[in-house]
Symmetry: none
Subunit: 255 residues, 2 copies
Amino acid sequence: MLTDERLDAIRQLLSENGKVLANDLAAKFGVSDDTVRRDLRELARLGHCRRVYGGALLPAPDTGSLSVRTTDRADQKARLATATAALVRNGQTIFIDASSTNLAIAQALPKDLTLMIVTNAPAIATALSKNPKHTIMVLGGLYDQSKGACLGLQTIREAEQIFADMFILGACGIDTALGVTALDASEAEIKRAMIARSSLLTIAATTDKLSTIAPFKLADAARIDHLVLEAGAADPEPYRRLDVEVHLVTTDGVP
Amino acid sequence: MLTDERLDAIRQLLSENGKVLANDLAAKFGVSDDTVRRDLRELARLGHCRRVYGGALLPAPDTGSLSVRTTDRADQKARLATATAALVRNGQTIFIDASSTNLAIAQALPKDLTLMIVTNAPAIATALSKNPKHTIMVLGGLYDQSKGACLGLQTIREAEQIFADMFILGACGIDTALGVTALDASEAEIKRAMIARSSLLTIAATTDKLSTIAPFKLADAARIDHLVLEAGAADPEPYRRLDVEVHLVTTDGVP
DNA sequence: CATGTTCTTGCATGTTTATGCATCTTTTGT
DNA sequence: ACAAAAGATGCATAAACATGCAAGAACATG
């Protein structure tokens, strides 16, 4: 077996499983442990993996400006993300806009489903793990560096040409009475356009988003179809009365 | 057996099995190892295979996403990037397409200049350090996960609405006689569109790009305005005779 | 047909690369 | 803290490689 062929195979296994064990590789390829270690060293040098004791793992993805916020409350977000990603069905077209929670959701999307993912957040496009079943469409236009998303007229026009089954909205504020709100006018525009062109509206909200009210209204609370919350964060009843399907995620630490 | 007949046969075997072994080919065709190596060298030059120790493999299906390739030869790229970024003038509109070198260039762009940066690579948009003097425009469309860029018709249409002062092209192959080439048809399309809508064409090339020839032609070598190379990588004279301004970057490591 | 040129090929040469082994150091789990 | 597993490092070797050269075939030209 050729050296580079082996390197390719290891890369492949890595992207499939996220990790490889040096022993397994040596047995699999019929070479010595030393050779495998050399291979892993080389791959690590090229940035294709991080070496760890016993094998190697995929490198931590670098996802740009959204990533700074990503480390915040990472555990809760991961749980919210998993629960939200589970709402997606095979064959759907999904709008995802910019937010650190949505970045986590994008990464948690089931890899075995055929999906069309439409986003105005470049970081979300780059963060999606390479997956031939996912078609990714980027909405272009003027890029707002502070929001990490494309906003503005051109972006809205592009969004208007697409109808999605679900919009996963990165909300700024949610209130039973006052509805879903955004902090910024241009942000609000594109979100409204996406809401108008989606069958289902899904919001995953960390606790701080509830009872917050931002200046620009996006939609009534009743427009929400799925609301994913941390358990104990808020009373789900008012939402349920509005016909919102509320999903509670347990946020307890280790039992 | 004719030489070209042999080359065809090797191409055939390659596309069937994904790899060929030099020894096997020599035995199969009844020629010496040297001849086979010469054949493989030629096929590699034409971009039909990648030579590896012991034989050859099909061209890298994907050498990894943009962020992964970034760490590759980071030191040289940083030097190339600085030199290339210095070619940009205040007030210019710049096309930057996807490549790891271009990612480095984007990060090295002078922060005190007012610039309009247009890119089809989401990773480049997110990587640009937050800077109020830089206006960033993302070209949307279908996102090619292996290339880390938006390709396809919609992206081209968006690019066609913009005229830039300079295009910083992430090239796949450069040859004095055969010009600038790309590995992939869809990639080639968008690059051609950008070339057609830019006054100046700038290419920063690591050594491996020179004398490489990929299947799809983008432009004649004479179309290049600025070519940034590592010193000693290639003879700049042929390019200078074509009226290309060649900038050499010293790549000496630690003394 | 004669002659000069180009192209291909194989061989000899010196160099580089991949690999396994032995030895020593580091990390990990108990 | 200690033993076992994993890793690093240096070395030896065989295979693969590049390069220059020469013989021969194919080709062009007069």
